[in-house]
Amino acid sequence: MANKQSNDDVVAVPLRHPWRWVSAVILVAILGLFVYSLWASPNINHEIVSKYLFNEKVIAAAGLTVSLTVISMLIGTILAIILAIMRLSSNPVLKLVSIGYIGFFRGTPLLLQVVFWGYLGIIYPTIDIGIPFTDMIWWSEKTSLVFTSLVAGIIALSLNEAAYSAEIVRAGILSVDSGQAEAAKSLGMGSGYTLRRIVLPQAMRVIIPPMGNEFISMLKNTSLLQVVAVMELYARTSQISSQNLAQVELLVVAGFWYLVMTTVLSFPQSYLEKKYGRGFSVATQKSRWLRIGMKGNV
């Protein structure tokens, strides 16, 4: 190699990584064996799997799952930013409200919250707008008509998600160097503007990966809505499976669709990570110090 170099370029022989390749081969072998043995298992009926994989009801349910997730994440994220700002604010009322909200909504089971909103009618049979403790009522409606299952489900998921995401946003904001906010202030930027244009864009780098987690959790948490009769993916497949008792097969079908949804999701995620990583080009170099091996021929 070196005797071929035309000038004084550093053409180093890359560090050899025999274990890298050995481990790769072993891993591929294990994975292959595993997939093969799964497929070969007589207890998984391939016909049922393929029959339901593209069943239109299953696909429709997957679509509903995605819509519920997107809507709830959107509302939840907006609330989360507000909660995070409240929590970091010096206003004691706002701060306490935020801590209380986060504590309560993270603290109680989502199922309880879904049941609460879904069956609000058990506790409040009608919704009245009027003056409490008097007979003045201007508007009244049956609760079950206002809080339909879908509305109740979205409310429950969004309010719950907001509590989790608020902590993520807070961590993101804390990760931005305080000098940034000072520089912004010194340029006359108000706190809202600073947050929007200076702090949040930098916090995004740190916010996006755990938000990806939340998104994926949400995809699956929608399954709790089955207790209020929302037929999303999981409810649909378990409905089918309790009819035909092909429980493992239908879990595989559901698993396949969840995997598809999360894989599709990972594209916008890595796009966003790139976008907000710009200028932190160091971020990509960062992996260098973690290098277990080093690139050859640099």
Partner: protein, 279 residues
């Protein structure tokens, strides 16, 4: 294994102590089950299976299982198993048979063989006082009905629907409890249930204050009763036969009738223990 312990010796004595081994049935039992059969049951599904104060399983299915054990001369352990994992628990060898008030349907016969031991009609559960005046299945037309997902009740609704000018709307829930909540919250006007479950619900929920049972005046033929069976994996056909023989023997010697009587279920008796009786 965690989960619920098998029945105590005392319980066995009261229910199965006096039952003699049926040698013919016992002879049918494959050797691999001679040292015990593990029963999976999604407890509670009252009155078929529930827990007593000491957290030991009880209920009609439990008593029947112990009686079958006595007939076959093996010990049947009765284990709590969540519905979502009930088939895998058989396939993986964790448990051997299902006694969980499971309806015998054509579709399910693809996976399991059923030894039928129970036949129940449907009843309608409505809020106490019957505010919507539901007297018959026809009265459900245009109303919303809450049922547990994937139960045979959906077939009933489908059978009634053609005769309705306004269709019955159906809400399906993962558990019967969720369906009850929906009725209480006003999301559904009524629920359709197996007769024995409806009776228990009306008796128990809110200490009997929440619901009442309507026995429909127009129960269409063919939907009045659905068979309930003991589920066995198809590959264990010999085990199915042994259990059938044991159940038949219990029917013949009157133990079956006395057990039904004990749980107030005499109305739902079957004449003989068929295999895959639902056609």
């Amino acid at each position: 294994l965690t989960g619920c312990a098998s029945g105590t010796p005392a319980a066995e004595e009261t229910t199965a102590g006096t039952i003699a081994v049926d040698e013919a049935a016992a002879a049918l039992l494959p050797a691999e089950f001679k040292d015990g059969i593990s029963v999976a049951s999604d407890i509670p599904y009252a009155p078929m299976e529930l827990f007593d104060e000491n957290d030991n399983p009880t209920g009609f299915d439990y008593d029947l299982s112990q009686a079958i054990g006595a007939k076959l001369g093996v010990k049947l352990t009765f284990n709590d198993q969540d519905w979502d994992g009930i088939i895998p628990s058989l396939q993986s060898g964790t448990h051997d048979i299902i006694m969980s008030g499971m309806n015998d349907t054509k579709e399910r016969q693809e996976v399991l063989d059923f030894v039928d031991y129970f036949s129940a009609g449907f009843a309608v559960v409505v809020p106490a006082g019957n505010p919507e005046m539901i007297k018959s299945f026809a009265d459900l037309c245009g109303k919303t009905v809450a049922i547990q997902t994937a139960t045979a009740q959906i077939d009933l609704v489908n059978a009634v629907n053609p005769s309705c000018s306004k269709k019955i709307a159906v809400l399906e829930f993962p558990t019967d409890g969720d369906a009850q909540n929906a009725i209480r919250a006003g999301k559904a006007s009524a629920g359709v249930n197996d007769g024995q479950v409806a009776a228990y619900t009306a008796q128990t929920a809110g200490e009997g204050k929440y619901f009442e049972v309507v026995v429909p005046t127009d129960a269409p033929e063919g939907y009045t009763s659905v068979l309930t069976g003991i589920g066995v994996l198809k590959k264990n056909a010999d085990l199915t036969k042994a259990i059938q023989a044991a159940v038949q023997s219990l029917i013949d010697d009157g133990t079956y009738a006395s057990l039904l009587d004990k749980w107030n279920l005499s109305a739902f008796a079957v004449a003989e223990a068929t295999i895959n009786g639902t056609k």
